[in-house]
């Protein structure tokens, strides 16, 4: 089996920036894209805050450019998903849905994924009324009534975006207030299509076998249960880092993110590095992910050089 210098897991801004730097440093990196090539930015529309694009750029277009630039210097980008890793001994093993690879260093840049409610019916009706991507699916709910679950900025953004298409939006919030920033709260509260259900939890997604038709709700103050008729449910309750493959090996912080040495991208295992949202619950921006991806490539190059 060929021994790689560097395997990069993840194809968002962190992974592809690390790939660009590592390829230019002649480490011939191999990068596994995973199930969501391009990462979280592919679920958005216009990215307005990435420097260098003064009139904005589509998330997918930005990620295509990242990939092109990484490939220009020899990165091998593979449409494969990592299903297991073995970090027990140096010369680490990374198993994908196709093959097993070995490398001297591994960069974990698997990012974070949208969380689901984990209630009955939610999975069954995914793509049939349940969605975590307003920009992908909002179009299909033109003239309909939908529910948004969540009280943070992400939920407010989803609601505002969806208000372009749908007739009525009910935001279901577990607490009696929003976690979202003041500016987002004001924007949403001004929108005449949006109303709120406070102290309310969604307990079950109900449907007719073909598509979602209603939700079973529970008021955690009055302890009353009700059935709420709706056409769609958009879940926006936050993100969780994609660490399940690594938990066994890598030290995580109390929030479940990968813990790196202060000011570096080194993890608790020599030769394993982490960058981007998987190791950052504070900033979570495309530009900061790209920044730590660059740091990781430099850390890795020096680490390999020092041995």
């Amino acid at each position: 089996m060929a021994k790689e210098k560097l395997i990069i897991i993840g194809s968002g801004p962190a992974g592809l920036t690390a790939a660009l730097y590592a390829a230019r440093a002649e480490l011939q990196p191999i990068l596994f894209e995973g199930q969501q090539a391009g990462g979280q930015l592919t679920m958005t529309t216009e990215v307005e805050n990435f420097p260098g694009f003064p009139s904005g750029i589509l998330g997918t277009d930005l990620m295509s450019l990242f990939k092109k630039q990484a490939e220009r210097f020899g990165t091998r980008v593979m449409s494969e998903t990592v299903v297991d890793v073995d970090f027990s001994v140096p010369i680490f093993s990374v198993k994908t849905d196709k093959e097993t690879y070995q490398a001297e260093t591994v960069l974990i840049a698997t990012g974070a994924s949208a969380m689901w409610l984990g209630i009955p019916g939610e999975q069954e009706y995914q793509g049939r009324g349940v969605s975590a991507c307003a920009t992908c699916d909002g179009f299909f709910f033109r003239g309909k009534e939908i529910v948004v679950s969540g009280g943070g900025d992400a939920a407010m953004e989803e609601a505002l975006f969806l208000s372009r298409f749908v007739d009525k939006i009910t935001v279901v919030v577990r607490r009696d207030e929003l976690r979202a920033s003041k500016i987002m709260q004001e924007r949403v509260k001004k929108n005449s299509k949006v109303s709120f259900l406070w102290n309310t939890e969604i307990r079950e997604v109900l449907g007719d076998g073909q598509k979602l038709t209603s939700l079973r709700l529970w008021n955690n103050k009055t302890e009353e249960e009700s059935i709420f008729l709706t056409n769609g449910l958009f879940v926006a309750i936050g993100h969780k880092p994609n660490t399940s493959l690594f938990e066994k090996w890598i030290a995580l912080d109390e929030k479940g993110y990968i813990r790196c040495e202060e000011g570096s991208t080194r993890t608790n295992i020599e030769g394993i590095f982490a960058a981007g949202d998987v190791a950052d619950h504070v900033y979570r921006q495309a530009i900061t992910a790209a920044g730590t991806g660059c740091m990781a490539a430099i850390d890795i190059e020096r680490w390999l050089g020092s041995r």
Partner: protein, 106 residues
């Protein structure tokens, strides 16, 4: 074989009357995950024999999307003998899609 562009005019002929299994990719140009899946689906169309692969732009053919209750994209439907035998949504790798498809081709 190259990927077919399916429209309301040719959908029944290419999909429902096909003598082989058909994978249909429902997509739109404004959908990020769809755009990432585009080249993957196209590559599979070239690599896989015994299966027809086509795409429906839901902007151009909303009636087809409606007929199959599409509420999310990308959605993939596998047809056999004119019947829906599998339907799934969201982005995935080429390997995942290939395995899912091969399962129905054999």
């Amino acid at each position: 074989m190259s990927e077919l562009t399916l429209t309301t005019d040719n959908f029944d002929f290419h999909v429902l009357q096909a003598d082989r299994p058909v994978l249909v990719d429902f997509w739109a140009p404004w959908c990020g995950p769809c755009k990432m899946m585009g080249p993957i689906v196209e590559a599979l169309a070239h690599e896989m024999e015994n299966v027809v692969i086509g795409k429906v732009n839901v902007d151009d053919a909303p009636e087809i999307a409606q007929r199959y209750n599409i509420l999310s994209i990308p959605t993939f439907i596998i047809f056999k003998g004119g019947q829906v035998i599998d339907q799934f949504s969201g982005s995935m790798t080429k390997e995942t899609l290939r395995v899912r498809l091969e399962h129905h081709v054999k």
